[in-house]
Symmetry: C2
Subunit: 220 residues, 2 copies
Amino acid sequence: MSRRSDVLEFAVLGLLRESPMHGYELRKRLNSSLGVFRAFSYGSLYPCLKTLVAQGWLTEETASASQDGPAVPLAGRRAKIVYRLTAEGKEHFEELLAQTGPEAWEDEHFGVRFAFFGQTSRDVRVRVLEGRRSRLEERLDKMRTSLARTRERLDDYTLELQRHGMESVEREVRWLTELIESERAGRDERPSGAAGSQETGGLPRDRDSTRPDPSDDTAN
Amino acid sequence: MSRRSDVLEFAVLGLLRESPMHGYELRKRLNSSLGVFRAFSYGSLYPCLKTLVAQGWLTEETASASQDGPAVPLAGRRAKIVYRLTAEGKEHFEELLAQTGPEAWEDEHFGVRFAFFGQTSRDVRVRVLEGRRSRLEERLDKMRTSLARTRERLDDYTLELQRHGMESVEREVRWLTELIESERAGRDERPSGAAGSQETGGLPRDRDSTRPDPSDDTAN
DNA sequence: TTCGTCATGTAATGGGTTACATGATTAC
DNA sequence: GTAATCATGTAACCCATTACATGACGAA
């Protein structure tokens, strides 16, 4: 029970499933991998970690200066607290991964769910994408009828705003449709782990800048 | 001072500037005109109205069954409370309209600001649009460098999510650019009131369904 | 008379940020 | 030695939603 926010919990479990980490790093990963959609501060992260430990899904390991494998500069600053997923934690996360209801495709959740599609089985992926799409279509319907009822008393700018909003949603629907189709057409089934080859969505993909730049982090 | 949420306050003042209204109707207008971006519940609206009254920006008129002009069925149910903008309220709203800082183009504010562009002077409009655009470009930059730093350890889905996010932002930037250009090219200057002619954004515009449908409203 | 919608409110709760407090370690 | 970054936390606050309480009015 104990509805502690869901998405933060989910994301933390998911990231820790990949490898143990301490809070500070966790937050950075959180805000870069998933951060396009959501950013969390320590003020929410640390308390969340505590409750997850209390739940038995994580263990704290106070790795105070010891054990360094390779010639890596070091991995033992202060008394860092490394969080590791327990067996129950993993099991719990697996359950969350399998969910296909509104808790998977509503606005706040969809982003994180998608981010962990790599660990999600294909049929769940498809169901989540379809759920999301019909949610958006439903919303489009509402917007359209609402627009139809009010268009005459709205001025140009409000109208343009509405139009742009609808267009964005329509675009997202098309995106989802493409994803669904390419999931259906997809060949290999590999339920977990980050696979190597390209071809996730059959979409154009890629054309970005390349600049190393160790600046980052905002807030708190 | 008293940072009571800003956007709700702004929207309420703006809507009441057009005509006096009671809370219930106000909320409906709020959630249809601006609602693509934000929805408010009575739990926030009514307290907000109270503080605006306390501030001297609104007056409450308890229109308890009286005065009906035309043969309109009626406009006097229970003791409705009609809110009306005072002179100071109008002045205050005018000041808010003139603001061009971050309080105008940050995510939470931009939508409402745009919705009231009809009452905003052209140069303020342009400055707000430009501010918004550079904010988004800044964000794009961060996303790009962050992507460049992390792309190899991200799996396909995370990457696709990132890609889609960036594409959306890029699209919004293009939208803003078009709007800015058409503002610059625009002929007539009419600072307030909803003007008639088309050509707000020089964009394609229009192709939607038409269905009357008196169903609406969700929540609370 | 009962249901739906109009209409106004409030208290509890939730979910999160900000600001603060503290301190170790590294790079200059 | 000092600034930046790594690192962990907490308390105060903010903003809004949920759920609830209340009640009038119109239509079936």
